[in-house]
Amino acid sequence: MKNSMFKFFGSIALFAFLLSGTVAKAGTKEDVTKKGSVSCGVSQGVPGFSNADASGKWSGIDVDMCRAVAAAVLGDSNKVKYQPLSAKDRFEVLKSGQIDMLSRNTTWTLSRDAGLGLEFVGTNFYDGQGFIVRKAAKVNTAKKLNNVKVCVETGTTTELNLRDYFKANKLKYEAVSFTKADEAVAAYDAGRCDVYTTDKSGLAAQRTKMKNPGEHTVLPETISKEPLGPVVRGNDQNWKDIAAWSLYVMIEAEELGVSSKNIDSMKSTDNPNIKRLLGLEGDTGKSLGLSNTWAYNIIKQVGNYGEVYERNVGAKTPLGLARNGSPNQLWSKGGILYAPPVR
């Protein structure tokens, strides 16, 4: 009897101990330093943005964003743990603290920024939604898409824009929604739908996965603005700043002509802007709570924005997205990429 009473009160004590765990958490940066890695939410496979190759190695413009943050905080861009997420789950997983940041071709909108308790840190790719159809459909403009079935990924802004566009143009359609982009593409490819819609970069990426990429054509219309960028939780200002400035230094580096290849020779420069960027002057790291070589690590290990772009989605990649003439060019070259001064 006594023994069982001990067990009983023992378990209550254990229980009470578990309950006493505090609600408030330490800052994300401290967590990351302690873990020794950045947990980064990525897509389940969008070539050029975040995609794992046969050996499980991740690459893409979004993946490089994760790597940049890891380089800034931990000094090693390889210390990233990738977590593939569906569009539907991404915000919940971030909110619950299972990942440190979300870098998953996610569109920055008011309701997401203000309503979800999340913070969009910037834009690493300016995109817009488009349509892909079979060439056999003999359609050269989205305005002619009437009575069609459209495959779309659920839980996305794509789904909402799709409706807005067809409604505004008084066209009839049926939205066939899937949880994964892959499923939606496969359904389109099998003829379940006449049209597949997603961001234009995504169309270029997904087309490479289709059975006969040459049989499909992307329609000229861009029906929405899709600024894609990384997202963090809204209750950690320091972590937001780190993520934002990790992006900005890559843009700034390109503007200053600093790349992963020439960065070490740049150390002898007289340009104070470059000196600050490399941590040779000033203390940019201190206010972020990082070492002064944080920006150097990013540029050395990941590269500047131009390198990242050309490596993942540029003209020489299967996606072949030309940079000139697109918004994803530096402001000084006709694009809209503009980083606040690093000082």
Binding site: M5, F8, I12, F15, A16, L19, V23, A24, A87, K88, D89, R90, F91, E92, K95, R112, G115, L116, G117, V133, R134, A136, A137, K138, V139, K144, L145, N146, N147, V148, K149, T154, G155, T156, E159, L160, L162, R163, D164, K167, Y173, E174, A175, V176, S177, F178, T179, E183, A187, A190, G191, R192, C193, D194, R233, G234, N235
Partner: protein
């Protein structure tokens, strides 16, 4: 009275000091746990500036759903989207339960058949569908069978009636004029059948002979509506789905359309659940002792009558409780629809609506409560039925 004193006994036993304390603490900590989780959620939502509440239910959803029983598009509210999902879940569950029951009964009885081929085939059926994971079966029907159907312009057209292609199955829509006369005919037929049944029973008790009520019923059910529709000049038109060409895009418009996502889910749920029901039916029939059958024979009942009057009514008592579980499983399993994009409750509300609004706690709560209510409702009905047919000890 007896129940009440029983309850008092247990209560007084429970109230003895040594028993009371641990129970009190258990209850206390149970409530503390609930309090902790609620408070934790509140604090964290507040700390992260996440708005909460059920206001979102009346705002525009902004997304469309491909398959809906009620009028719906993105200009309707999230509340309406919930209803769309709920009705789609109920639709697939309803037909799933019916098909699973029919198939289950046929296969269960076939397994006990003396025909070796039939019983072995039934065994094969049960083992096959019972032992493969359900999600795999759904994928099989969806990705292997329905995905590989011909494209729209090369549709299979069966007897000018059913059109089959990769985008779905199209049946003609029946459009009646003066439909009410058919309903009158059915009502009249049912009344006649009840009357005949009454006389047949009377005749059976008086003379030992009975009328072929079942065959007569069938004849009446066909003849009377036909006769009435002739009287009321009922018209019937078929509205076949039409092939519409828009540049190089072909689509069928009109008719009654069943999307492949629905069909795949329905096939998989029906076949999977029917395998379990078949086993319940077999067990139920085997549970009736041989003596019952022999006794039925000895009082001169033929095979079908003994099955109908003696075996099945007793077997049902064994069959119904586990079959209730299978029905509940079927409803809950229908939430696997999300895997293939059928817009059921889980996929439309706990999926799309959740990610469009971010109201995870509210939506998951609503969805859980809904499934719970559906399940409890089914249990309630079947428990009531089970009680009704149970042995009444006198």
């Amino acid at each position: 009275m007896k129940k009440l004193s029983n309850f008092k006994n247990t209560l007084s036993k429970n109230l003895q000091w040594g028993n009371f304390l641990p129970q009190f603490f258990l209850l206390f900590f149970f409530f503390l746990l609930i309090f902790y989780f609620t408070r934790n959620a509140q604090v964290n939502l507040l700390a992260r500036n996440i708005t909460s509440g059920f206001d979102f239910l009346s705002t525009n959803s902004g997304f469309d759903v491909q398959f809906s029983l009620i009028a719906y598009d993105g200009s309707f509210s999230f509340g309406r989207a919930y209803l769309v999902g709920l009705l789609n879940t109920l639709l697939v569950s309803f037909f799933g339960v019916i098909f699973a029951s029919i198939l289950g009964f046929i296969v269960g009885i076939s397994r006990l058949s003396e025909n070796l081929l039939l019983s072995k085939l039934s065994l094969f059926y049960v083992e096959l569908f019972r032992n493969l994971p359900l999600i795999l079966q759904i994928f099989f029907w969806y990705f292997v069978v329905l995905r590989n159907l011909p494209s729209t312009e090369k549709s299979l057209i069966l007897l000018d009636f059913l059109i089959i292609n990769v985008q779905g199955f199209y049946f003609p829509k029946f459009i009646f004029t003066n439909f009410q006369f058919i309903v009158y005919g059915i009502i009249f037929a049912i009344l006649t059948i009840l009357l005949i049944k009454y006389y047949s029973n009377k005749m059976f008790y008086n003379t030992g002979k009975y009328l072929p009520v079942f065959k007569l019923s069938l004849i009446f059910l066909i003849l009377f509506p036909l006769f009435f529709s002739f009287l009321g000049s009922v018209g019937l038109k078929f509205e076949q789905a039409k092939l519409i060409q828009n540049f190089g895009i072909f689509n069928y418009v009109g008719g009654v359309k069943l999307v492949p996502e629905f069909l795949a889910l329905l096939f998989a749920l029906s076949l999977y659940t029917s395998a379990f029901i078949a086993e319940n039916v077999r067990a139920g029939i085997l549970s009736i002792s041989k003596g019952q059958k022999e006794a039925a024979k000895s009082i001169g009942l033929n095979n079908s009558l003994s099955l109908k009057l003696i075996i099945i009514p007793q077997a049902l008592r064994v069959i119904i409780p586990p079959t209730t579980n299978q029905y509940l499983n079927l409803v809950k399993n229908s939430s696997l629809a999300a895997g293939i994009g059928y817009p059921d409750l889980t996929s439309v509300f706990a999926g799309t609506s959740l990610s469009q609004t971010g109201k995870a706690i509210e939506i998951i709560f609503i969805v859980m409560m809904t499934y719970l209510s559906i399940s409890l409702f089914i249990s309630l009905i079947l428990n009531w039925y089970n009680k009704k047919i149970a042995f009444i000890s006198k």
